[in-house]
Symmetry: C2
């Protein structure tokens, strides 16, 4: 097993200093065409490839950003991740992935640079177990971008959509279809559930605007936004004396879980119960029936998050926290309007 070729060996072969080889390899500074050619030939001949570790140590950066999500198998995150990886790679950054399972201690550790320095230069983070206070206490020297809605200010950016407006639109859509007993699945009335609370706010605002009262007993809290929680909440709702005739689910997964229960009870969607989700994951579009939903511009969210974290890395000074809103749209499918062809509303 041959040792790796180093800069110095290339330099010796090309008859120049190792620093010059470095300059050529990195496209730095001014190098004569003649020198460059000589060096490049030596590089080819020896099959030289730079050692990133050494480079990074010398530069005091790792060239990596961490992306931290609570659960990797959540389709919404997988879809987002794709965009993030692409955007980061385009800027020469590698992406390190971590999953926290919502563990607050683990999350706290990560936003304080993890166990060791220089493992990643910045972090894109979707917190689940941390409340505002914990987030505000993060290591300010670590460039941080938060995914999803948060209400606090701090030395970090938020990238997300306007949850209140989106939720209001989803709810208005249901009300405008003539539904009267609307349920909401996914509220989280505790400190770490801000995103959920914003959606509940939108749900209520829609009722206000339409002059209808909210049926408080139909607003169901769930610890997570997954299928199982959606299914459990739906079962509960159907067991009520007066079940809902429409459900606003705070994620498409919740909607899929709810629809699963509806189907197993022999109820028709949307005839008996209309269902709308949130996130526009691919599963929803292919579900039976296809799920109406709020569709955030994921590609833009991904590129914006990467852009911001790299910006923060580049500017050594600490930037003020920014609130970045990506656009979203209401996607109407069969789960609310039946076999009518899917149409779109901005």
């Amino acid at each position: 097993m041959r040792r790796d070729v180093t800069l110095r060996e290339v330099a010796d072969l090309a008859g120049v200093s190792s620093r010059t080889v470095s300059n050529v390899v990195n496209g730095y500074a001014n190098v004569t065409e003649h020198t460059r050619a000589r060096v490049m030939q030596a590089v080819e001949q020896l099959g030289y490839r730079p050692n990133v570790l050494a480079r990074n140590l010398a530069q005091g950066r790792s060239g990596q950003i961490a992306v931290v999500v609570p659960y990797l198998d959540t389709p919404y995150f997988s879809e987002l991740l794709q965009g993030i990886i692409r955007a980061a790679r385009a800027q020469g950054y590698n992406v390190l992935i971590d999953q926290t399972d919502g563990d607050p201690d683990h999350e706290r550790m990560l936003i304080n640079h993890g166990r060791s320095r220089l493992l990643f230069d910045g972090i894109i983070f979707s917190p689940l177990g941390l409340d505002q206070q914990a987030l505000a206490d993060h290591d300010p020297s670590l460039p941080l971008v938060i995914l999803g809605e948060r209400v606090s200010q701090g030395t970090f950016d938020h990238v997300g959509i306007d949850d209140v407006t989106a939720s209001r639109q989803a709810t208005e859509h249901l009300l405008d279809l003539g539904r009267t007993r609307l349920a909401a699945i996914g509220d989280q009335p505790y400190p770490t559930g801000e995103a959920a609370q914003l959606r509940t706010r939108g749900f209520r605002e829609a009722h206000e605007r339409r002059g209808v009262a909210v049926h408080d007993e139909l607003v169901i809290a769930t610890p997570r936004f997954n299928r199982a929680d959606g299914a459990g909440a739906m079962r509960h709702l159907l067991d009520l004396p007066e079940p809902p005739d429409a459900v606003f689910c705070y994620s498409d997964l919740v909607a899929l879980g709810a629809m699963h229960v509806l189907a197993s009870r022999g109820l028709r969607v949307p005839e008996d119960v209309a269902v709308i989700g949130y996130d526009d994951i691919e599963d929803g579009a292919y579900a039976n029936p296809p799920v109406s939903t709020i569709s955030p511009d994921k590609e833009l969210i991904a590129t914006t998050a990467v852009e911001r974290v790299l910006l923060r890395i580049a500017s050594r000074t600490s930037l003020p926290g920014m609130e970045l809103r990506a656009p979203h749209r209401l996607v109407v499918r069969e789960s609310t309007v039946g076999r009518a062809a899917a149409s779109r509303t901005p």
Copy 2:
């Protein structure tokens, strides 16, 4: 912005050599309880955290493994990834993720250590664009574990399930339900489609065992295993003069796509057409109706893959290629047997 605390500073405070601090921090060698306590106190006091980059450079390893999949938003991979990340982290390794989109050049680059050395110590790889020959030509100094079935031998391991047997069982299940016109969606009759071909083999073997002829025109090739391909193939099948009464899909996504089309054409599953998938992703279990499927032991696949790649990293000598088979089971749900309670077959 304070400079980071170094080993030497801790050493000075504790009144020992930096080498001793290193020994304590890493739990190396024999250190007196007294010394350890002194050092630990200094570590606490200064808030020392090791610099992984420096450590790795000195050790000539990166402490990272790369996991490379064609598409990140494929639920099967997301689910696998979770297990891989957990297992790797338990061994002190970080996971670098990359997505190739099936691009052969990109894939070829990765199995030859990427653009630079020391970025990752080993790689767990799910190839899509590379054929046997390209895989065999990989840099033998890079510990490599391939996910999924492959027929070749080489200086790398395979981790997967027994595709032929699993596919045979899925097909037998359909035949045993009394179905006579079985379709298969997902064949890939070209060099990079070996996994698909194994499934087709299982499909054919089942027919042989039951003494039934395969309807060749019902074996449909698709470039990928996603919903869109499943939907397209299903449309084609339904447009045939004699459509199938059962479909074996080479992935659950394909099955979901197919079921989507069946529903939109007003056909009932399983009454009109029985559908079985492959992979046992969560979407399948929550689909309407829930999809029967082949369920690979993903957790075991993940831990085995990590175990093997770390083993190869640890043993500097090149190990012979191994074929590692994880168990699988047939999971029977409504998409093949209707509302009968889901039961299990080994």
